[in-house]
């Protein structure tokens, strides 16, 4: 149940963060705090953090692409070694997922360290 709270909290917050320079730090910090509050086992917390944010971002970016007529993503793909739109979505989701995963892992580690 607590893991569900974490999942909901981090997925929503990850889609609301709108900071130019500190977006990933905020995402990491929120994931750490939510994990501290809601997650127990550090071994699974990374996976939960990673999977949740990756999935949330993938769905959101997929939606953005489907509802847009812009070619800008294709053009960006050419700049990044010819990556296609799908790969760019995966790459973005991966970056967010790793950040959230690391935050969750550290959050639960700290929790275990304090309460052990």
């Amino acid at each position: 149940m607590k893991a569900l709270f974490y999942t909901i909290a981090i997925s929503i917050s990850s889609l609301l963060i709108n900071s130019e320079n500190y977006g990933y730090i905020i995402l990491f910090s929120l994931s750490l705090i939510f994990a501290f509050l809601f997650l127990e086992k550090s071994k699974t917390s990374f996976a939960i953090g990673f999977a949740t944010v990756s999935a949330a971002w993938t769905i959101y970016l997929w939606y953005l692409s489907l509802t847009s007529t812009s070619n800008v993503v294709k053009m960006i793909g050419q700049i990044f070694q010819g990556l296609n739109e799908f790969n760019l979505i995966i790459l973005s989701a991966f970056l967010g997922g790793i950040t959230a995963g690391l935050g969750a892992y550290l959050g639960s580690k700290i929790k275990n360290f304090i309460y052990a």
């Binding site: 889609l15 609301l16 963060i17 709108n18 900071s19 130019e20 320079n21 977006g23 990933y24 730090i25 990491f28 971002w57 959101y60 970016l61 953005l64 692409s65 847009s68 007529t69 812009s70 070619n71 800008v72 993503v73 053009m75 960006i76 050419q78 700049i79 990044f80 760019l88 790459l91 973005s92 970056l95 967010g96 790793i98 950040t99 690391l102 935050g103 892992y105 550290l106 580690k109 700290i110 275990n112 360290f113 052990a116």
Partner: protein, 803 residues
């Protein structure tokens, strides 16, 4: 023991977050920090949504009011109660669609590109700063402030740009900002002035003083023959035989200037200037049109970029209803029409940038000789910020003539540059378009353009009242014969310009008997004009062809004008092929191993159609022929600053004096003549065709349109198109007709068609980014929607209301 994994995870996390926030190098390019660039809410993903336009958008609490309606081509039609409101809206819409372009081009003028892209732009920035764009822009703004009414209009435009900038955060920055990792700056009148200076550099920064001085030394007594100032083809802008209302006594002595002809100087440009740029404009009166309405046409030839240099729009206020193209960065319509008149511009090409040799007292280079005295140099320290590197300083030495631009190109001396933008203007230059946009007749047109000081432009004009006119407008320096053609002695103050011609004395013509006016960057006048001006390197082919067509036809229509703008006939090719046939007779051709190619040349109509192969064959052949002819210069690295004779004179040599010594190749023991060079060039062509075969001219020409910052993904790498340099349809590889416009001034209002190779939006992902390119390429035009009220629009995609 539990602390170890905690510490390890903490370090790993910090490293990861650091990695997301640093720029990564890819070759010589820097990618933006991956974290913020890939962020779904702020990174490039959000640029997919920048094109989303609401049917009605309301912007409240604005100081300025009005309404912008975007039609189905994304062209804004601005409705406002007065001009200040209209310019505010214009500034807003320029920024909305072209902010990055405006910002980047003014930073380039200012010499601040190193801040964005790093050390590779340092030389570019140094040259820009030494040439003094920033100082000139600051001076202009101070002059503008002396005209409060005009300055208020500029301030309104500036406020409009800033109103848009203030709405932005990183998530909706144009994509180039995100890729290059910098942020927009507040717009100012100074930036608008910088844009004006930048255009002045594009249009009047072309001169060959250094190269012509070296050529004069190299060619000796043959120089005048090889570099005629008025060649045989010339049909000047102002018709031959025009009488000049200019008292020669009021000018300086027209005797030859005392040139010191010092050679050994070199030009060091970070980016070499493109040659061959030009433009066409013309107007015919009602006596020469089928519908008995005057028609005006204009196609300025500029470097192609995406976003396009032009932005199309209409401005409607109680005192004006004007349509045309604008430069994002300055207010007003630059080329266009209103209910009463139409106007278009081409470059006049006067030489208004001169170089003076500076004689130093000693190696310290702190004192220089001027009128027999050693004068202390002044200095200006330029601090150039460099991305990911330390700031550098550049000390600019300033003389009475102007700045020293290139260091150490001569063992003992340096060159100081004097050019027109360093002369303080006496009027608010941007007023020209304020007044011209609402002009109703030829007198108001003449009065409006008087304030246009530089770069010199051929302003073609037509009115509903059936007046046509052409004014070569700009501040024309008063010079002695040949003054400023070569490097001048900077120790003698007599070599300075003797002021400027009074405005009404510059060349113009109103309602000529021939029924048309035209310009295609040829010389403004014939040799009888009393003041000396040097017309750069423009050539006369287009002007001559244009005037021939305009003279012959007496029932012009918009459709016929379209065909004239798209005309692909090459007079250069025609004269060159005539010269080939003059040297090689039919029997020789048929017995030659090059019979096939020569026969194709012989039967060719000299049209540069994209689907024909012959223009490619000719172009390649001519390139070899030219290089083999001038091998004594091109194959000698010490002569890299010697100006080469032009195409007309090279072809004329082949026709009239094929035994001229320049045809002899320096690398062979035997003596070659023109005919030998023709055949050797054909040999080279045959080898080329084996190595790099091509199907047609379009494929051979390899035209393209680059993004302004040379980001390949945002440009068009290849366009197959007709036309070429020195042709009316002057589409060369990277430049050409940047805006085609034809306006018929009927009694019920203007009927206009136009097109440009780009699109209204500067957002590369937008459907309006390059949507006109294909239509432009195939010679299509759009009907320009000149409306009086919003209901007349065929379709609106968005309305922006400023309340």
């Amino acid at each position: 023991m539990k602390i170890a994994p905690l510490v390890f995870t903490t370090i790993l996390s910090i490293a990861w977050l650091y990695l997301l926030n640093i720029s990564i190098s890819k070759g010589d390019q820097k990618l933006p920090p991956l974290g913020k660039f890939f962020s779904p809410r702020t990174g490039f993903w959000q640029n997919q949504r920048l094109d989303d336009m609401k049917a009605i958008e309301e912007i409240k609490d604005q100081k300025f009011k009005g309404e912008i309606i975007l039609d189905d081509e994304c062209i804004p039609h601005i409705f406002a109660n007065d001009l200040a409101n209209a310019y505010y809206l214009q500034g807003y819409i320029h920024a909305k669609f072209r902010l990055w372009q405006m910002d980047f081009s003014t930073r380039a003028a200012e010499g601040r590109i190193s801040e964005i892209i790093g050390p590779k732009a340092i030389d570019f920035d140094k040259t820009r700063r030494r040439k003094g764009f920033a100082e000139s822009a600051k001076t202009s703004v101070e002059v503008w402030k002396k005209f409060p009414e005009s300055f208020n209009l500029i301030e309104a435009y500036v406020a409009g740009v800033n109103a848009y900038i203030q709405k932005l955060d990183y998530s909706n920055y144009p994509i180039e900002y995100k890729l290059m990792n910098f942020a927009p700056e507040k717009w100012t009148a100074y930036k608008s002035a910088l844009f004006h200076k930048n255009m002045a550099d594009v249009l009047c920064g072309r001169e060959y003083d250094i190269e012509l001085t070296a050529a004069k030394e190299f060619f000796g007594s043959n120089f005048e023959k090889l570099f005629p100032e008025q060649d045989k083809l010339l049909d000047p802008v102002i018709p031959k035989g025009t009488k000049w209302n200019l008292n020669q006594d009021s000018l300086v002595s027209s005797k030859n200037n005392n040139q010191n002809n010092e050679t050994g100087f070199r030009r060091i440009e970070a980016e070499p200037k493109e040659t061959g740029l030009g433009s066409n404009n013309w107007a015919v009166n009602s006596f020469k049109t089928e519908n008995k309405n005057p028609i005006l046409c204009n196609d300025p030839h500029l470097s192609f970029t995406l976003p396009s240099i032009w932005f199309e729009q209409q401005i409607i206020t109680p005192d004006r209803n004007v349509y045309g193209v604008t430069f994002p960065g300055i207010p007003g319509i630059v080329i266009g029409f209103n209910e009463y008149i139409a106007w278009g511009v081409t470059n006049g090409g006067w030489d208004v940038m001169d170089w003076y040799s500076i004689q130093w007292k000693d190696n310290k280079k702190e004192k220089y000789l001027y009128d027999g005295e050693w004068i202390n140099i002044e200095t200006r320290i330029e601090k150039i910020k460099v991305k990911d590197a330390e700031e550098i300083s550049d000390t600019v030495k300033l003389t009475k003539w102007g700045p020293i631009v290139y260091d150490g190109t001569h063992p003992k001396k340096d060159l100081a540059m004097h050019w027109i933008i360093s002369e303080a203007s006496t009027s608010c230059e941007l007023d020209v378009f304020v007044d011209l946009n609402k002009a109703k007749n030829v007198n108001e047109y003449r009065k409006a353009i008087k304030k246009f000081s530089y770069p010199s432009q051929n302003f073609a004009f037509a009115s509903r009242e059936n007046d046509i006119a052409l004014t070569v407008q700009g501040n024309m320096p008063i010079k002695r014969n040949q003054q400023g053609r070569f490097i001048q002695d900077g120790s003698d103050s007599k070599n300075a310009w003797a002021g400027f011609l009074p405005n009404e004395k510059t060349p113009y013509i109103i309602n000529p008997a021939r029924g048309f006016v035209s310009s295609a960057n040829q010389n403004s006048t014939d040799a009888t004009f009393p003041n000396y001006y040097n017309s750069g390197d423009f050539r006369d082919y287009r002007g001559t062809v244009l005037n021939q067509y305009l003279s012959k036809e007496n029932a012009w229509t918009k459709e016929k004008m379209k065909q004239l703008q798209l005309n692909n006939f090459s007079l250069k090719a025609k004269t060159a092929i005539e010269a080939i046939l003059h040297n090689i007779d039919t029997v020789e051709i048929n017995n030659s191993k090059h019979a096939s190619i020569l026969n194709q040349f012989k039967t060719w109509d000299c049209n540069y159609d994209s689907t024909s192969r012959i223009p490619g064959l000719f172009d390649r052949w001519y390139d070899y022929f030219y290089k083999l002819t001038w091998d004594e210069i091109l194959n000698d690295s010490t002569k890299e600053n010697v100006k080469l004779p032009g195409d007309p004179i090279t072809i004329q040599m082949l026709n009239e004096d094929s035994k001229m010594k320049y045809f002899d190749m320096t690398s062979t023991p035997q003596i070659e003549n023109g005919k030998d060079i023709i055949l050797l060039a054909l040999d080279s062509l045959q080898e080329y065709l084996i190595k790099q075969p091509f199907k047609n001219w379009g494929e051979y020409k390899k035209a393209s349109i680059s993004h302004m910052a040379r980001i390949p993904a945002f440009g068009i790498p290849f366009i197959s198109s007709s036309g070429g340099a020195d042709i009316l349809n002057a589409h060369a590889r990277t430049w050409g007709p940047s805006w085609r416009m034809i306006v018929e001034l009927t009694q019920s209002g203007p009927e206009a068609i136009g097109i440009y190779p780009g699109g209204q939006s500067g957002n590369p992902g937008s459907k309006y980014y390059m949507n006109m390119v294909e239509r432009w390429r195939t010679g299509e035009y759009r009907k320009l929607q000149y409306i009086k009220n919003p209901e007349q629009l065929n379709k609106a995609i968005s309305t922006i209301k400023f309340n």
